[in-house]
């Protein structure tokens, strides 16, 4: 019988702990338990058999850590089939009469995924894929991915399981004391993400005792239409007379798990500290129970790695600023690969109240697929808002969906056959809520009726791919009222009818309505209010616009979706937005003299970003951009730099000044773009990177910031960078200087290799090194041209090289 068939009608008993039992049988501290599948097969079979005898329907193989990080592929080819056979033998020998199944057990890799760890996402997928392939060949009934405490690694494992097998996949996470995964995901995030990726059952295991996991299991039941399972620990371990004891007894454990079954959990077992005795108690407590029927959920949800946003309640604001269309400065940033600029746009929208960020990086000068992928990774590392991936290129869409750590908004599909054939399979495989535009091969219908009909067709087509209507967000398209007086009326009618007749959520790009008209914000905000009143679920807009945000908060307060008007009051209190000035300093203990010099120079010396920006803007009305750099910004910075070198100024202050200078530079850059000219770099091209194996980059970022401030053109390759990539970049840029940073003694060989590679291939290129573990002597020995103890040292070295070059 198929496990999923059996599960429809029956409550399923899983097994209990393995590690604790193996320890009792003599497994030593730090010994790899999977080796016992070969060394002591009878002991492993004994454990499995005890679980089957106690009533388990499913036992999981002793393969928790059986992956290529701990074993060679050849070893896995022996270990995994042996593990499966040990479970199969127990299945044949058990006295139990219940239907029994064997699950291939897959635990986490034990490594953290990039960017906070050093394991690449696709490498993680391959590691899991190897285990899955061998396990499937050995013949199991299902796959159990368990104890995952990171959403991203969970996705890697589930993708691998789905891509390399057709077996049912059960996926279970370990939640911390705060009810979240170690990397931040809540149960509702995991429910949406795992259901979207096609998990056949979703669970919670390990972590803590049954009482602590009960609310998590109950929330999972409420959030998904998939069966939920629960495998808690037997409480917390402690030592009594030299023995490990867990503080929840089998009976208490069973009583508590029974409550979970009463709340709709459909499969139960145990994790650390549980034994066949616990499963027997469980079998007695719940064996006769019939599982509750699964209710189909209709909540439409997107998530990031940490937070979820649902449509259909409070209107959702989708920030539109990450998009080059009509934005010269943004386009420039994409062409220059200025990722920080994109991140700043994201943070500003987040601060101003966006719930989701649209991400569109399509401009002819860039490789959109790579850039969308890269920016998705960068954004999800530091921003907790869900993303709306926005591209017309299905290849870019798939690559971005693959690396996305959550359930994304997919922008977009439309009623054209080709569009649906490209987008729906992606949505089915990776999960996501798809924005569906109500247009087709014949264009945009002029009537609301026509748009509703297309929506209906899209709905039917989606169903054929197995995509539920909760995972569609219809955009009935906003056209400008300057061309057709009825345009807004038709759109609003379509919003209302899609909601009422199809029961679906809607989204609009609001600002198109005023195209070609003056004072657009007046029309936009009123149209937005009208659409919200007709039931609009989401809007793509500029969260930096006061008018739009006023309309939004006022609507929420007036429509009863803002309890005690709390959000409205909070918004009103800071309206208009205060400037972002931080660190208002007291006048005492001046480390940098502030007398004399202009306002701009004072702002830079004191590290005040906002006033530096404002002053730069004012000065640019009368001073040329190059003069501003040469006579205002650089001298001010230099004064602070000297203070640092003379130890009168400390690093945090130096950085604050550098940041203020950067804010002033940003104004210079805008002025130059307006002129159509480009910022003139100081002759010297610099490439900077943290070497292979090293993932900490604070020091490197500081050096980069200062070099940029001094007018050098810097290409930042990031952290954990292969030597060959650094060489390629240096060659391509004709770099005169490469700066390398390393933090660990273990990554010094990588640094040494990079230096050697650069010197062999590009003898004219100088290499400067720095980082916690280095000193001048070691740097010299590895062949570096320069060792810098601090960030200013690197700047001075670059200046000296630049002087030499000019002298030539």
């Amino acid at each position: 019988m198929h496990i999923l068939e059996f599960m429809k009608e029956h409550l399923v008993l899983l097994d209990g702990g393995m590690g604790t039992l193996l320890q009792a049988k003599g497994l030593a501290a730090g010994e790899l338990p999977e080796r016992w599948n070969l060394a002591y097969p009878e002991r492993i079979t004994e454990v499995h058999r005890a679980y089957f005898d106690a009533g388990s329907h499913i036992v999981s193989t002793n393969t928790f850590g059986a992956n290529t990080l701990h074993y060679t592929s050849a070893e896995l080819e022996e270990i995994i089939p042996a593990a499966v056979e040990n479970a199969r033998r127990a299945q044949r020998e058990t006295v139990g009469t219940q239907p029994t199944f064997v699950a291939l057990d897959i635990g986490p890799t034990g490594r953290l995924l990039s960017p906070f760890g050093d394991l690449d996402f696709e490498d993680a997928v391959s590691i899991f894929a190897t285990t899955v392939e061998i396990g499937v060949r050995a013949g199991v009934d299902l796959i159990l991915i368990e104890t995952m405490n990171d959403s991203y690694e969970t996705k890697a494992a589930l993708l691998a399981a789905k891509e390399h097998s057709t077996l049912p996949v059960f996926v279970s996470n370990a939640y911390g004391e705060d009810g979240k995964l170690m990397t931040g995901a809540t149960p509702s995030v995991m429910a949406a993400m795992l259901e979207g990726l096609g998990a056949d059952a979703i669970g919670v295991n390990c972590s803590r005792g049954p009482a602590a996991l009960l609310p998590i299991a109950t929330e999972l039941v409420a959030r998904t239409s998939r069966p939920i399972f629960l495998k808690p620990n037997a409480g917390l371990p402690h030592i009594e007379n030299g023995r490990t004891v867990y503080d929840v007894s089998p009976e208490a454990f069973a009583e508590c798990v029974k409550l979970a079954v009463g709340n709709g959990v459909r499969a139960v077992g145990g994790c650390c500290g549980t034994t066949p005795e616990y499963i027997r108690a469980l079998s007695q407590a719940v064996g006769a129970m019939t599982p509750l029927p699964i209710e189909k959920k209709s909540e439409s949800v997107v998530t990031s790695y940490a937070s979820s946003v649902s449509f259909g309640k409070t209107p959702v604001l989708i920030g539109e600023r990450i998009n080059p269309t009509g934005k010269k400065r943004f386009r420039q940033a994409l062409i220059e690969h200025d990722i920080d600029y994109v991140l700043r746009e994201a943070f500003r929208q987040e601060t101003n109240g966006a719930h989701v960020l649209d991400v569109n990086v399509g401009t002819p000068e860039v490789d959109e697929a790579s850039l969308l992928c890269e920016i998705t990774r960068e954004l999800q590392a530091v921003c907790a808002l869900p993303l709306q991936l926005d591209t017309a290129d299905p290849v870019a869409m798939e690559r971005a969906l693959r690396v996305y750590n959550g359930k994304a908004l997919i922008n977009s599909v439309n009623g054209k056959k080709e569009s649906m054939e490209q987008i729906f399979p992606l949505a089915k495989k990776y999960g996501g809520v798809v924005v569906a535009l109500t247009l087709d091969e014949n264009g945009i219908p002029e009537t609301a009726q026509g748009r509703v009909e297309i929506a209906r067709r899209i709905l039917e087509a989606a169903a054929e791919y197995g995509i539920d209507k909760k995972d569609l967000l219809f955009d009935p398209l906003t056209l400008t009222v300057s061309a057709d007086a009825n345009a807004a009326r038709v759109t609003l009618e379509a919003v209302e009818r899609i909601r009422n007749e199809l029961g679906c959520n809607t989204s609009l790009g609001v600002s198109n309505v005023s195209f070609g008209l003056p004072r657009r914000e007046m029309l936009n905000s009123t149209f937005f209010s009208m659409a919200l009143e007709r039931g609009l679920s989401a809007a793509i807009l500029n969260p930096d616009s006061q008018d739009m945000m006023r309309a939004y908060y006022a609507f929420c307060a007036l429509s009863g979706s803002d309890a005690q008007c709390a959000s409205y009051i909070a918004f009103a209190e800071k309206c208009p937005m205060p400037s972002n000035t931080t660190a208002v300093a007291t006048e005492s203990k001046e480390a940098v003299p502030t007398d004399g010099g202009s306002e701009l120079q004072n702002a830079i010396r004191k590290g005040r970003c906002e006033s530096a920006k404002k002053e730069a803007k004012r000065l640019l009305e009368s001073v040329s951009p190059t003069d501003l750099i040469a006579h205002w910004i650089v001298p001010a910075l230099d004064a602070v730099g000297k203070g640092f070198e003379e130890k009168r100024v400390y690093l945090p202050q130096l950085l604050m000044s550098a940041e203020a200078a950067k804010a002033a530079f940003e104004e210079v850059k805008c002025a130059l773009l307006k002129d159509g000219s480009h910022a003139k770099a100081r002759g010297l091209s610099v490439v900077i990177a943290t070497v292979k194996g090293d993932i900490h980059d604070i020091g490197k970022n500081i050096v980069r910031l200062l070099l940029e401030n001094y007018g050098f053109e810097v290409l930042d390759l990031g952290k954990d960078v292969e030597p060959a990539r650094i060489l390629d970049a240096a060659r391509e840029r004709s770099a005169s200087l490469v700066c390398l940073s390393a933090l660990m003694t273990t990554t010094l060989p990588a640094m040494e290799e990079t230096v050697r590679l650069l010197h062999d291939a590009l003898p004219q290129c100088k290499v400067a090194v720095g980082g916690a573990v280095l000193n001048g002597e070691y740097a010299h020995r590895m062949g570096a041209d320069f060792y810098s103890a601090d960030a200013m040292g690197a700047v001075r070295y670059a200046e000296s090289l630049s002087g030499t070059e000019r002298g030539k």
Partner: protein, 197 residues
């Protein structure tokens, strides 16, 4: 043989010591720096929820002048010196969690002075966590704890991290992982051996 059991420490963090933060920041008090620290402290309040400590106690013997733990000889003179006179040893892994790394990464891109300050706060927090743990263990065992001796100190090779991680099951217990270059992630983490006398 004593069974090896990994226990978890109820990781409640003590209040932040601003003097220590300044020390890690290698800066002196000033209006700008103080304001920066206060801002950063406010920001990282929610970022420290992933903190955790896992530990296990083991019998300690000495053979040929080297410490033997769980039947394994650790060839380090400096470790043996640090543990001299002890009959038991505490193995510990501690982390403030990945939330701190996320904040540092965010500001590293946005505002490096903040990143630097958050980094210093992270250093202060992980040391404070270890101190709090050791103080409690001292009370619990009624004995004196020695210094925290970590892989990479003196002649104890950094590669001993692998052994410690295998014994303590750090990834599963507290979400602390070890990279290929023996770098720990989350970055604000400590592993150590502590003698109990």
């Amino acid at each position: 043989m004593t069974q090896h059991a990994i226990e978890l420490f109820d990781a409640s963090l003590p209040p932040v010591d601003r003097g220590e933060v300044l020390r890690y920041l290698r800066a002196r008090e000033s209006g700008e720096v103080d304001a920066l620290i206060e801002d950063c402290l406010a920001e990282c309040e929610g970022a420290l929820t992933g903190a955790g400590v896992c530990y296990c106690r083991a019998e300690l013997r000495f053979e040929n002048g080297f410490a033997v733990i769980f039947g394994q000889t650790i060839e380090s003179h400096d470790l043996a010196r640090a543990l001299a006179g002890c009959r038991e040893v505490l193995l510990l892994g501690a982390t403030v969690g990945v939330g701190m790394d996320r904040l540092i990464a965010k500001y590293s891109r946005l505002c490096p002075s903040r990143a630097l300050c958050l980094d210093a706060i992270g250093d202060e927090r992980i040391e404070a966590l270890c101190d709090a743990f050791c103080a409690q263990m001292q009370q619990k065992t009624g004995s004196t704890l020695g210094m925290r001796f970590s892989p990479g100190y003196g002649d104890l090779p950094l590669s001993y991290q692998r052994e410690l991680f295998a014994i303590l099951d750090c990834p599963r217990k507290i979400g602390l992982t070890l990279g290929e270059s023996l770098l720990m992630s989350p970055s604000k983490s400590v592993t150590a051996l502590v003698g109990i006398s």
